[in-house]
């Protein structure tokens, strides 16, 4: 099947592409010092890079809105940060996004998508399909990357928007970049 061929090709190429390393460099150049995250497989390489970085504080959150508040506090204290989350976590952030919106604080969110290209799990669809609309409803500037080459430049652009114009900005990293999971395949193994 052509579909299988595409999936196999993406699976084979996605882990080899160094986009997480490029994103790490972009975030370092942007002066990021605090990283709040609820883990996602798509962020694992970037999380490992920050975990190994003594100049950056990596904070595991119990829920994503904690990170919105933490980075607002960081900004009050003169530090820049980034929030790493999965699209489902965007839903947890909605009211907390009032804070950067009304205070004109920068907030940089890197959102790995589920409920998107090639999704297997139907429960991921409602929030995945509602992610961009939810963010935009709360005044977050949303940009999207759907190829590995496009991720770091998109993050660079969003970081500049966030930190130079004091606005919340999110980058949605499409499932096509990350490779779609297939639990049915995993269950058969």
């Amino acid at each position: 099947m052509a579909d299988t061929a595409v999936k196999t090709k993406d699976k084979a190429t996605a882990p080899l592409h160094p986009w997480p390393d490029d994103v790490y460099r972009v975030l370092k150049e942007a002066g990021v010092k605090q990283v709040g995250m609820v883990p996602d497989a798509g962020h694992s390489r970037l999380i490992r890079a920050f975990d190994a970085d003594p100049e950056t504080r990596l904070v595991t959150l119990t829920t994503e809105e904690e990170g919105v508040a933490m980075l607002a506090g960081a900004w009050l204290g003169g530090q820049r940060g980034v929030l790493l989350l999965q699209s489902s976590g965007v839903g947890n952030c909605i009211n907390m996004l009032s804070l950067p919106a009304i205070c004109h604080m920068p907030l940089l969110m890197l959102v790995t998508m589920r409920g998107d290209w090639g999704e297997f799990n139907p429960w991921q669809i409602p929030m995945g399909q509602g992610t961009q609309a939810s963010l935009e409803a709360m005044g977050v500037i949303v940009t999207r990357a759907d190829t590995p080459d496009d991720v770091a430049p998109t993050v660079w652009g969003a970081a500049n928007l966030a930190f130079n114009t004091w606005r919340p900005a999110a980058v949605l990293i499409g499932q096509r970049v990350l490779g779609a999971k297939n639990f049915k395949e995993l269950a058969r193994k």
Binding site: K33, Q34, R57, V59, T60, L61, T62, T63, E65, E66, G67, V68, A69, M70, L71, A72, G73, A74, W75, L76, G77, G78, Q79, G81, N95, M96, S98, L99, I102, C103, H104, M105
Partner: protein
């Protein structure tokens, strides 16, 4: 002060926490804790929240990590703390030595008609903070204990959580500036200097 079972008055508590405040940085949770902190004296080093319920403790964490040489005091209410209850776990893991969280516990949602919160039914926030791993966590029932918390907050030798049992009294509002940009800018200018205006 003679009856140890008498509930404390919230403005007395906050006035004592902020006595000789020096350069301590204060995050105030939305609602009455905001008005209490503002009644003690509007200050550039206060960040009083008007919304974003559940944010106060985590804003304190981000600020404490960004400014490790400064002391950070979060003053919030039981309802606000309950909404961000997971942040106790996050803060316990990070253990910033310069962060004190004082929860003014009237066991009520005060702004919305004094409905009972979970603490009225026995939920023990100080016990939850302790179990999360914040080792200096206590329930405060006397002004002497409030003074001890005030001193710990200024010493900054470990994360502190204090659950202060207060009278469910409704007091006259004392309002700080409501504009988030004004609050943010004056706070940053005070902490970071005039450079904050240029970046």
């Amino acid at each position: 002060m003679t009856n140890p079972n008498a509930l404390l008055h919230r403005r007395d508590v906050v006035n004592e926490l902020l006595r000789d405040r020096g350069d301590i940085l204060v995050i105030a949770g939305l609602g009455a804790p905001n008005w209490d902190v503002s009644a003690a004296g509007d200050h550039a080093n206060n960040f009083p929240l008007w919304g974003a319920m559940g944010a106060a403790a985590m804003m304190g964490l981000g600020l404490a990590l960004a400014q490790p040489k400064r002391k950070v005091l979060v003053v919030t209410g039981d309802g606000e703390m309950l909404m961000g209850i997971g942040s106790l776990a996050t803060i316990a893991v990070e253990k910033p030595p310069n962060l004190t969280i004082a929860v003014l516990d009237n066991e009520r949602f005060g702004e919305t008609g004094m409905q009972k919160t979970h603490t009225a039914s026995g939920v023990d926030l100080a016990g939850m903070a302790l179990a999360a791993g914040i080792r200096t966590s206590q329930t405060v029932r006397t002004m002497e204990q409030v003074s001890e918390i005030r001193d710990l907050a200024h010493q900054g030798k470990g994360t502190v959580f204090a659950l202060v049992k207060i009278n469910p009294e409704a007091l006259v509002f004392t309002l700080p500036p409501a504009d988030g940009v004004i609050l943010t800018t004056r706070f940053r200018q005070s902490v970071l200097g005039d450079e904050a205006l240029y970046n």
